[in-house]
Subunit: 150 residues, 3 copies
């Protein structure tokens, strides 16, 4: 159930969360694009799940998440290609249980060494974000759909 946002205090709280989510994604995706698998995996909960469109089944837990990133990054390095994941048009809906339902447009830009960038994939990302004991945001669940596979 989504929380209703009415008055100025609520709207300030929403602005806080909205900025925080954008900042979270900026760092989160920079870690991914840098191949920093372990640090990236630590931005998921310990039982975090990532259901990508291209994997046969969801990836669960930090060890598997980190390994996936490290392998993908090694393949891209081999190929001489830099990927950038941009989470844009972020729609944040605070839930009654304190979690955040976040839907965003995910653009992946691929640039080959010495070549021209291209839009590699256009996706929609559906995240459930929660907070750890220190109040930091973490991804508990991520589901991604690709626009080329409707």
């Amino acid at each position: 159930m989504t929380v209703q946002i009415d008055n100025a205090a609520d709207r300030t709280a929403f602005a806080r969360v909205y900025a925080e989510v954008q900042q979270f994604y900026a760092r989160h995706m920079y870690l991914l694009d840098s191949g920093a698998g372990r640090e990236w995996a630590e931005t998921f909960t310990s039982d975090g799940v990532f259901a990508p469109p291209s994997a046969p089944r969801p990836i669960a837990g930090r060890a598997a998440l980190a390994a996936g990133v490290e392998q993908a990054h090694a393949e891209l390095r081999e190929k001489g290609e830099q990927h950038r994941h941009l989470l844009l048009s972020v729609d944040v809906r605070p839930q009654m249980d304190g979690s955040l339902a976040v839907r965003s447009y995910a653009q992946i830009i691929a640039t080959p060494r010495g070549g021209e960038p291209r839009v590699h994939l256009m996706c929609v990302t559906h995240d459930v974000l929660v907070r750890d004991a220190d109040g930091r945001l973490l991804v508990r669940h991520r589901r991604v759909t690709r626009d080329d596979r409707p």
Copy 2:
């Protein structure tokens, strides 16, 4: 006339509005890209006007706005293509009359089923946003220019 923003209270108010505008556009464009014509049209005022670069004259009123979206979406479905409208680099200027003058860069990404995405159009969007009786943002006027037609 644009409001001057000076002290911390004003800057908090600006942050509230800025987050709200970004959230508004995220939902607004998701409705558009989903072909939800009627819900999309309800994010305009009842006399809302959309002056797109490709229409011979501005589209006015919710019925016409909804019909336009539904037709465009049917054509894209027929063609097997998904469009995504991203309103980025949002510049929000609160006006003395309480409206918001918002200029943004609009990117349209098109993805054919089974194919590669491409940047279909790059535009600049000039919106006037106002609030309804419940304080929700609505588009009163939208003017769009295309970068390929300067």
Copy 3:
């Protein structure tokens, strides 16, 4: 040294800064893309430095910054091409000295007159932002790396 952000007041302050930085970049890049060299240069400190990936050495000071933009814009006009600089996925880290360390993904979209847009360059931008006597943000230092030249 980066400031730690803990409580609600700090988080509100962060939201203020985050909105302000996004708004700053929206205007800053619109000036650049419009060829408004002098106004753009005034969003740098008087001794502001821009270290672009394509210049042999950093560009320093407003006169040189403005001249660079005006020349680049004249060349694009000659060529019939509109560029748009989008600073996305903004990561803002307030520093102990009051400055802001900002890292973002910079996308340059190029649209030829009568043609299709393309992603011209994908870059990472590292800025140091400071405030002038009136509290307005200015770029003190900018360093940009290109994804095609790793």
